[in-house]
């Protein structure tokens, strides 16, 4: 048998993906079609009951709540991240890599540690309260930790670098003469942004937004630590089903639904950016 070199080179990555990605996902999906055993475990009898439960208003509500929290975090991250990327792209060329390096620097520390740091900041006698005191605030310490706001802050903080990187790429490639041309033709600074700069950098915004949303909606560490278990997101629910309620088939059905949502979003984004790039693919000058 002859195997071509590209196939051989692809083998390790392929094995990795199949063994650690496709197979586990398949197992999770398969599990979702069985019944829960009476004393936990799995009773291997086929049922669609788990999926029916997923769309039950109680659980569908948690899906919607997760989507709302993830959506809010995405919106805030996109606004802050785009502004930061715009500022970086407007700096002089030699400074830009340095600023980008600082933007992604938090990635060098552990996600859990960074999330715990927010507890230090936000708890009743935390750094924020101390700062307020230092400025003369004497009232009740504000309750910031274990709120939805804390969860959103944690998500925005953790995923902001993705948005900055995704938006920086198209912003730094943008020909500055396009904005000048718009000004020259009578466009105000705001119109120039809305009609020229924003549409041309939309693929970056979309990529960053899908990233933040997908990572946020399935997140369970941040809501568990900063939401104090009071604001359940799907991630927590799945975690609970597997490790507390011992209802693996239902947990699997929830996980499958979550994966389906994420894949759908990534597919749509991929398709959109593909279309954007073929649309702007230059034809040869001599064609």
């Amino acid at each position: 048998m002859t195997t071509s070199r590209p196939t051989l080179l692809m083998m390790p990555a392929l094995a990795w993906l199949i063994g650690l990605m496709v197979v586990p996902c398949g197992l999770v999906l398969a599990l979702a079609f069985f019944q829960r055993g009476i004393y936990g475990g799995v009773d291997y009898t086929f049922t669609l009951e788990n999926f029916a439960k997923v769309v039950d208003p109680l659980y569908a509500g948690i899906f919607l709540n997760s989507a709302r929290i993830a959506g809010t975090a995405t919106l805030i991250a996109v606004v802050i991240g785009y502004a930061a990327a715009y500022a970086i792209a407007s700096c002089r060329r030699s400074l830009q890599p340095v600023l980008l390096f600082f933007a992604v620097l938090p990635f060098w520390s552990n996600y859990l540690i960074r999330t715990y740091a927010w507890i230090v900041l936000l708890n009743r006698e935390g750094l924020v309260t101390q700062m307020l005191r230092w400025f003369g605030y004497t009232g009740e310490p504000p309750s910031m930790l274990y709120t939805e706001g804390a969860v959103i802050a944690g998500l925005v903080y953790n995923y902001l670098p993705f948005v900055i990187l995704a938006c920086y790429a198209p912003l730094s490639r943008l020909n500055p003469e396009l904005a000048e041309a718009s000004r020259d033709l009578g466009g105000s600074a705001f119109t120039t942004f809305r009609r020229i700069i924003l549409p041309l950098t939309m693929p970056g915004i979309a990529a960053g937004a899908v990233f933040v949303f997908v990572l946020s909606i399935g997140n369970f560490v941040t809501p568990a630590l900063l939401g104090g278990g009071r604001f359940q997101m799907i991630g927590n629910l799945v975690y609970d089903q597997f490790l507390t309620a011992n209802d693996w088939p239902f947990g699997a059905a929830l996980a499958a639904a979550l994966i389906a949502i994420m894949m759908l979003l990534l597919l749509v984004q991929g398709y959109a950016s593909d279309r954007a790039s073929t649309r702007s693919a230059p034809v040869r000058e001599d064609a």
Binding site: L178, A181, R183, L185, G186, R195, P282, A287
Partner: protein, 355 residues
Amino acid sequence: MSRPVLEIDQVSKRFGTLTAVDGVSLSIRENEFFALLGPSGCGKTTLLRMLAGFETPTGGRILLDGADVSRVPPNRRPVNLMFQSYALFPHMSVRANIAYGLEMEGRPSAEIRKRVDDMLATTQLGGLAERKPDQLSGGQKQRVALARALIKRPRVLLLDEPLGALDKKLRGDMQIELKRLQHEVGITFIVVTHDQEEALVMADRMAVLRDGRLLQCDTPHAVYEHPADAFVAGFIGVMNFAAGMIAGQGVAVRDGSIIAGALPEGMEQGAAALAAIRPERIVLFPDEETANRTTGRIEALAYHGLDLQLHVRTPLADKPFLVRITADTADRRPLAVGDPVELGWSATDTRIFRN
């Protein structure tokens, strides 16, 4: 003489310690095709960007129809710029690109549609209205950029190296096309170029800049025939130079002979000078007595179809002289590399510059 539409009054621009434009004054008339010419780094693009409003002068004033616009932002100036890169909006069709400037003025959509259609016809872009810029050739992009700026009916249209991105053949056609369009729309054009031939062909008047300073401003004919200094003489067209010093009514050159010419005002005897002669002013084997005469040997022959260029080694200068003769002169007397030749030219065709 028509009144000036644009007056550039002692305009300077300094970036830190670098002076990009140094006290330039120019007056540009209504409906004029004006060229700003100079080598790269001469300040012509900075001057153009100040006229468009993208840079603010650090000294002097820019007057448009008599009003000081030095500090008016680009979107509030009745001046438009055609960018060297064309800067077409890649996400918009040709039609949307051209309509953009009118939308910014808040014109009613019926008027916009009509004026865009007219402009598409004027610039022969009718069939391409729905294309995106990336689906256009270089020449088509250039026409869209021109249409997008012209539709605003600016008082002055600025063009930054408008033909720079086109190939040589297309460039020749577009030079004529630009002249035709300018005549048709009746708008003052200011073209920035580093290509002296382009300026000579298109411009009614031209300004030659170097190191941020204005060297000369006049009609192409006057600049070509009476260059202000040796730099302009060498930059515009081809010029033969012989270095030496002023002696009597001419320049004493390398071999001790004197090239006769009109001395400029205030040149004292013995001063370092350059004698300059255009290649087409040199006569090969002159029949009659000419003020200047020399012998030489043909080093190279270059055939250009209409004419023939000879590189003739003479005792007058280090570099060989370029001589241009017409094809029928060459037919009457066949020439070959190595042949000895006699050259002659008049004193009035000799320019003398300070060196």
